[in-house]
């Protein structure tokens, strides 16, 4: 569904991505791991069209067939079904919960089915229905994360990019969010997950990539990486 080949991205004077290649197949959950500054978020921002790569391709099987994410506009990319929940949630703080969700549905083509999608999101996160008229900015961190995911789901994603969904959340809430991701996965969703919390990400990932200094250093299935000594030492806290 997504095939990234030799992506190079330069931000200012920094060559952030130095040839990233990865793929995500339909129905799969892929995880992108790595330390701070390894280039995880840059990768996702490039896939969403917010950054233009210097070279390389990123072909996504969109609603209307394949598109090259390296050239398409952010708007077109969302319309083709690649939807991102960005790092730090980035909800609209001055809009109500319902308005936030409506903005998620902004790019939907079949607005008729938006009602059913709303109901689905409300079923997944009942709190979003209870707090429908609260402003996004007054929600707790966990509620904001649910809102960010709900908003993303309303855009009818074929591929959902999740950037650090565990960031800044209490352990209980992290568990709750990953339960939801697990539910989405079982429902057949295709997900590309960026996480610093490698342990929890590898638990649900079918496929995983470790980024180091802008390159994919290690890749394999979730279980392979969880068993890999380098990964265990560097990211899972196993003794050297």
């Amino acid at each position: 569904m997504l095939e990234v080949r030799d992506l190079h991205v330069v931000r200012g004077a920094t060559h952030v991505l130095q040839g990233v290649s990865l793929e995500v197949c339909a129905g799969e959950t892929a995880a992108l791991l790595g330390a701070n500054g390894a280039g995880k978020s840059t990768t996702l921002q490039t896939l969403s069209g917010l950054l233009r790569p210097r070279s390389g391709t990123a072909v996504f099987q969109g609603v209307d067939g394949p598109i090259d994410l390296a050239r398409a506009s952010p708007e077109a990319i969302v319309r083709q079904g690649l939807v991102q929940c960005p790092e730090g949630r980035q909800i609209f703080r001055s809009l109500t919960v319902t308005e936030n969700l409506a903005m998620g549905a902004y790019a939907r083509r079949d607005r008729a089915s938006a009602g059913a999608a709303f109901a689905q999101v409300h079923a997944l996160f009942p709190v979003l229905k209870e707090r429908a008229n609260a402003l996004g900015g007054v929600l707790s961190g966990g509620e904001q994360m649910m809102l960010a995911i709900g908003r993303g789901l309303l855009a009818a994603p074929r591929l959902l990019l999740l950037d650090e969904p565990s960031l800044g959340l209490a352990p209980q809430m992290v568990e709750r969010i990953f339960d939801v991701i697990e539910t989405l996965k079982r429902g057949g969703a295709t997900i590309l997950l960026v996480e610093q919390n490698a342990a929890i990400a590898l638990e649900i990932a079918d496929r995983a990539y470790v980024l180091e200094n802008g390159r994919v250093a290690i890749s394999g299935s979730g279980q392979e990486l969880a068993a890999d000594d380098r990964v265990r030492q560097a990211y899972l806290g196993a003794p050297a």
Partner: protein, 296 residues
């Protein structure tokens, strides 16, 4: 209430309406592109001369209002597309200077085309009559300005808070990156904000001409500056704040002149700027903003 005080109140409300209309557009544009648009006041002039042109061409008044709104919207969209869009992402100072350049360009183009000679506005004579309201009376012009402003603001609030486009505008203003990630057409949304804000300024130009009777190419400077002050009073970037700030400024100005000894009347603008300085010292985020929102 004495006729004198009532008249001052009506006068203040109608002046405040003009300030509010200009300030709202100013604030919308700031809210969505973080640009202090000093060319905004010049759209008041554009609206006033567009009105005069249509009156001279014999267009009936209701149609004139529609045309003026349209002219304002088109002018705002043209400025956005030609100047501000290429500047997007540049530093705030660059954008600020660009708006000054646009303002100077518009003013001088108007001076060349229309000459600096002030012109009579040709408002229909019946608008000058006074309407009795119980024991007191008020100028019809002022009442019409207040009513038209009320209708325009009500329409604006409906668009901004109840429609898909308005919600998208608020979303872009709130978090540009998130709006892009939701597939909101950012350029189109910003263009719409410019169109709406500029249309309101042009409508204010029509009313400005009606209230003061004379128009000239540099007339946009004062409303632009006053709108800026109204925004600072109310809190820059908030529509409600700009509206309240505009009315507060209009009322304060008129009451200052009306209630103070006549020899102080010439210090009207001094008083306004003094008010600005005090507000900036005491509550720089604006009177009607509860807290300064963090900007990520």
């Amino acid at each position: 209430m004495s006729q004198y005080l009532f008249q001052q109140l009506v006068n203040g409300l109608s002046l405040g309406s003009l300030y509010a209309l200009v300030a709202i557009g100013f604030s919308m544009i700031y809210g969505i592109v973080r640009l202090i648009n000093f060319a905004h006041g010049d759209l008041v002039m554009v609206g006033a001369f567009a009105t005069l042109g249509m009156v001279l061409a014999g267009v009936p008044w209701p149609l004139t209002l529609v045309f003026v709104l349209l002219v304002g919207a088109l002018a705002g969209m043209a400025i956005e597309t030609a100047v501000f869009r290429p500047m997007r992402g540049a530093s705030q100072v660059t954008g600020f200077i660009a708006t000054l350049a646009v303002s100077v360009t518009i003013q001088n183009a108007a001076l060349m085309i229309l000459s600096g000679q002030p012109r009579n506005f040709l408002f229909p004579a019946f608008m000058r009559q006074r309407v009795p309201l119980g024991p007191v009376n008020a100028a019809l012009t002022d009442l019409v300005i207040i009513a038209m402003t009320f209708a325009l603001i009500a329409t604006l609030l409906f668009v901004v808070y109840r429609t898909r486009l308005g919600t998208a505008m608020r979303a872009v203003s709130d978090n540009l990156m998130a709006a892009q990630l939701m597939g909101i057409g950012v350029n189109r949304t910003i263009l719409a904000a410019f169109a709406i804000g500029s249309a309101l300024a042009a409508a204010a130009g029509l009313m400005w001409g009606g209230k003061f009777g004379q128009i000239e190419p540099l007339m946009g400077f004062a409303p632009g500056l006053k709108a800026f002050i109204a925004c600072v009073i109310g809190g820059v970037g908030s529509i409600g704040g700009a509206m309240l700030g505009g009315y507060l400024l209009g009322l304060a100005e008129v009451l200052f002149v009306g209630l103070m000894p006549p020899e102080l009347a010439g210090y009207r603008d001094t008083f306004v700027f003094l008010m600005l300085i005090v507000i900036l010292l005491v509550k720089p985020s604006g009177l009607f903003v509860r807290h300064v929102e963090e900007r990520a």
